[in-house]
Symmetry: C2
Subunit: 471 residues, 2 copies
C-alpha cells in the first residue's frame, strides 16, 4: 500500500475539524506520541490529532481514507507490543479527550465509558458504588481503558474473573470508512449475527476506533486472603500450579515470580514508595507463587487456603507466608506489580507474554532457561501463571546491539516455537503489535493469516488504519 | 448467487469420499434432514452426506466450492431459528458420525470433543471425572454440542457461568475452501491476532464446519438450593429481577415463567415422565421466578437464599417454596425445561428469544402483552430472565394461515422494535438463522450487515456454505 503524505491543506482541514489547539505539529511535542513502553521503538507521526467526539473522528477518517493517509489510534501509551506506534508515520489520533465515565448503571450492573478513561479511575468510580470491574493490568494507573479493550488486557484477577473482553458488552466504533456503528447491544447474552464486539476486542486498533464502551460489572468480594509460597526451583513452582486448580479451588490471583524478579524490584519499590520492603526472600528459594483467594465468608476462605497449602506441601516448597495485615498484602502486590518497571530499570528488555495450558508450565520454564543458555541471554520470568500466562523479560545487559537485533530474536523465536509445541501461543494479554508480528507464522497457518487479512479488508478496504500491525 | 445442481457425477464422487453407505439420496430418508424444531419449516436437501473425518469434509468442500453447490452443516436438528435448514437445497453435511469425546484432560481442566457429541453425554462424561461443563440448553438430551457452539447456546446456568462461547478455547474448522485450520490455541487467555475462535461461535455454520472443539471445564459445585417464588403479575416478577442481582447475590439459575407456561407443561410432563406433578400453582399468582443458588457451603447458600427472599418480600409476591428434596428440585426443573415442548404440544408457535438489560424487563413484558392484544395473538413467556433473556412463544391457536404469515409477523416485528428500543436485541441464544433474518435491520445498521457480509466473503468467497442465513 502506497500511502500519501499529510499535506498542509489536510492539516488545515484537520484544524477545522478538531480545532487548532487539538492539532500537534511541533516535532518535540509529536515525539511524545512516537513511542510506548515497548523496548526502544520510536516512529514519529506527521501530525497528532486530539478529537473530542466520534463525529470528529468520523470526519478525520473519511478524509484520511480518501487521501490514503495512515491513521494510528493511541491510548495511554503503555502498550508492550507497539500496537499504538505509527510505523508508517501519518496521523496519530490520541484518545486523551475521550476521558469521561458517561454512566454507571447500578440497576443493570453496567457502565458506559469513553476509551480515554484511565483504568484505575474507572475501577475506583465503580468501587464507590459498591461495584467491581475486575480487569487490572499492572499499568492501571496510566493506561487507557480503550487500550485495554484493544489489546484485551488481563492482569492478576483474570484467573478467576476473566480478561477485559469478558466485560465488554457493546462498543461504539468509528470504522475506517467513517461510518459510526454500535457492534452489539447492552445485553449479557447475544446470538444476533457475527460477534463484532468480540472481534474488536484484541484487534489492536486495526479494525476501527473505539469511542464508547459498555462494560458489565460485578459485586465486590468483601474479603481476601493472600499467601506467598516459596519453592526451591521455578520448575517445582510451575508443577504445583495445575495441582492447585485440580484440587477444586478457584483463586482470584495466582501469580508467579522468580526470586530474581523480586530482587530486581525491591530497590525500585523502595525508591518509588519511599518505604523499606520487609518481606523476606531467602536465597535458597528460587521461585514464588502469590495466591489470592477472595469471597464473602472467612471460613470458606480459610478452607480454601488450607486446600491450597495442603497441595503445596507435596512439592519442594518453603514456609508459606500468610499475609494477614493490609500492609503486608499491599507490599506483596506492590512488588508483584512493579516487576516490569523494576526489571526495566535494571536493563533494556524484550518483554514476552507467552501462554500455555497450565500443565505445560514446567516444561516451558525449563525450556526457556535452556534456550537462554544456548543463545546467551538472561531472562526474568514472572506472570499470571494461574492462566498459564508467563511474562519472560529477556535482558539486554551486556549483549551487543547487533546480537540484540539478530541472535537474541532467533532465541525468542525458539521460545515461541517451544510455546506452540506445548499447545500455547504468542500472547496472552499484550497483543502482537509490531514486536511479535514476525513470529506470527510460528503460531498459525497461512490460512489463518489470510482470513485475518480478509477480515481487515472488510473493515478497512484501503488499509489505512494502524497499518503494519499483527500480520 | 446462482448455485449449481448436484449432478449424478458429483454424487458418485461423494460416494468415493465418504463411502456409499454415508450418502443418502432416498427422498424419505432425506426428509429427516429437511426440518428442525423451528415452526413448520421444511427444505429438502438434494443429498445428505455423513462424513467421518475432517479430511473427508475438506474434500467435499473443495468439490462443492468448485462446482458452486450449497452446503449446509447439520447437528442434532434441535435448532429454533432454522440455522441447519438447506434453504437452497444442495448438500447437507450431517455431523452425526463426529460423536467422540477425544480427551478429558483433568490436569488442565480441558476437554477435546467432536461436534456430533450429544451435549448431555458430554456433561455426564466430565461429571464422572468430578468436572463441570455448565452450558445446559433445554434440548441437551438430543442436541449436538457443535450446534451449541454454532448457535452460542445458553441455558439456565449461563447467568452465573456464561454461555457456550465462554467455554470454547479452540476450534478445528474446515473452511469453505477446504482448508483445515485451528482457530486459536488451547489456552485460557489469548491476544494473538483476531479472535477467530469467538467469531466462529454463534456464526451458525456460515463461516466453516467445526470438526473439533476444545472446551475449558470447571470444578463441580457440591450443593444447591432452589426457590420457587410466585408473583401476582409478570410485571412484578420482572421488577424483582434487577433488585435481586443488585443485592449482590450471584444465582446459578434465575428463570421466569408465566403460570400459563406451567399449566400448559404439566400435562405434557405427567405424560412423558408418567408421574403426577405435585407443585401447586395457585390461580392468583400469574408468574414465577425459579432461583437456584449453588456453592460448596450450606451456610453461605442459606445466607444468599435469605438475601433473595428479603428482596422478594418487597414485591407483591406469594409464599416462597423452598425445594429441599432432590425430588422437588427435579420436578421444578422438569417443568421449566419442558415448557418449550409443552407449549408446542398445545399449539404451533413462533418462538422468539429476545434479550434486554435486566432493568428493562418490566417494560418488555408489559409491551409484549399489549402488542399481542393489538395484533390478536396470545403468547406464553418464560426464559433465562437473570440474563435479561425472555422466550416469547407466540401461539397460532385459531389464527388463520394467512394472518400467521403476515399480520402476526408484523406483530413480532413490533416486539423486536420494542426490544431494541429498550437496549436489547433479537436473539440471546437461539440465533438468527432464517426465522429472524427478516428482522435484522431492526437490530442493526446497514454498516453492520455490510461488515458481516465482508467477513463472510473472507471465509467463503463463493458463498456456498449455509447460504440464506443471518443476513
Amino acid at each position: 500500500m502506497a500511502f500519501a503524505e499529510v499535506s498542509t491543506d489536510l492539516i488545515s482541514q484537520f484544524e477545522t475539524i478538531v480545532g487548532e489547539e487539538n492539532v500537534i505539529i511541533d516535532p518535540e511535542k509529536r515525539y511524545n506520541y512516537s513511542h510506548d513502553e515497548t523496548e526502544d521503538y520510536s516512529f514519529l507521526p506527521d501530525v497528532v490529532l486530539k478529537p473530542g467526539t466520534p463525529e470528529e473522528i468520523s470526519r478525520i477518517m473519511k478524509l484520511c481514507n480518501q487521501h490514503l493517509i495512515p491513521v494510528t489510534p493511541r491510548g495511554g501509551g503503555t502498550g508492550l507490543s507497539g500496537g499504538a506506534l505509527p510505523v508508517q508515520n501519518g496521523v496519530v489520533i490520541s484518545m486523551e479527550r475521550f476521558n469521561k465515565i458517561l454512566n454507571i448503571d447500578e440497576l443493570n450492573l453496567q457502565a458506559t465509558v469513553e476509551p480515554g478513561v484511565i483504568t484505575e479511575v474507572f475501577q475506583n468510580a465503580v468501587k464507590e458504588k459498591g461495584l467491581f470491574y475486575p480487569p487490572d493490568p499492572a499499568s492501571r494507573g496510566s493506561c487507557f481503558i480503550g487500550g485495554n479493550v484493544s489489546e484485551n488486557s488481563g492482569g492478576p484477577k483474570a484467573v478467576k474473573y476473566g480478561v477485559t473482553r469478558d466485560y465488554v458488552l457493546n462498543l461504539e466504533v468509528v470504522l475506517p470508512t467513517g461510518d459510526i456503528i454500535w457492534t452489539g447491544a447492552n445485553v449479557l447474552k447475544n446470538s444476533t449475527g457475527y460477534n463484532l464486539t468480540q472481534l474488536m476486542c484484541g484487534s489492536e486498533g486495526t479494525l476501527g476506533i473505539i469511542t464508547k464502551i459498555v462494560f458489565k460489572l460485578r459485586g465486590i468480594p468483601q474479603k481476601s486472603v493472600l499467601l506467598l509460597m516459596p519453592f526451591i526451583t521455578n520448575e517445582e513452582a510451575c508443577k504445583a500450579i495445575a495441582e492447585i486448580f485440580r484440587a477444586g479451588v478457584n483463586p482470584s490471583g495466582m501469580e508467579f515470580f522468580e526470586r530474581e524478579a523480586a530482587m530486581k524490584t525491591i530497590d525500585y519499590c523502595e525508591k518509588i514508595y519511599a518505604a523499606k520492603v520487609t518481606t523476606p526472600f531467602p536465597e535458597n528459594m528460587d521461585a514464588y507463587l502469590l495466591c489470592e483467594l477472595d469471597g464473602n465468608d472467612d471460613e470458606v476462605l480459610m478452607r480454601e487456603a488450607e486446600a491450597v497449602m495442603s497441595v503445596v506441601e507435596k512439592f519442594q516448597a518453603g514456609e508459606i507466608l500468610f499475609a494477614d495485615t493490609a500492609a503486608q498484602k499491599e507490599e506483596l502486590w506492590k512488588i508483584r506489580k512493579n516487576i516490569s518497571p523494576g526489571v526495566n530499570a535494571y536493563s533494556l528488555t524484550k518483554a514476552e507474554d507467552v501462554v500455555v495450558p497450565r500443565a505445560s508450565l514446567p516444561k516451558l520454564i525449563v525450556g526457556i532457561k535452556e534456550i537462554g543458555k544456548r543463545y546467551g541471554f538472561n531472562s526474568v520470568c514472572y506472570g499470571h501463571i494461574g492462566d498459564g500466562n508467563l511474562h519472560v523479560n529477556v535482558m539486554k545487559e551486556q549483549i551487543s546491539d547487533e546480537d540484540w537485533n539478530t541472535k537474541i530474536n532467533d532465541g525468542i523465536g525458539e521460545i515461541f516455537k517451544l510455546t506452540v509445541s506445548l499447545g500455547g501461543t504468542l500472547s496472552g494479554e499484550h497483543g502482537i503489535g509490531i514486536a511479535k508480528r514476525p513470529y506470527m507464522p510460528i503460531a498459525m497457518r497461512e490460512a489463518n493469516l489470510t482470513l485475518m487479512r480478509g477480515i481487515k479488508k472488510a473493515f478497512d478496504p484501503n488499509g489505512i488504519l494502524n497499518p503494519g500491525k499483527i500480520f
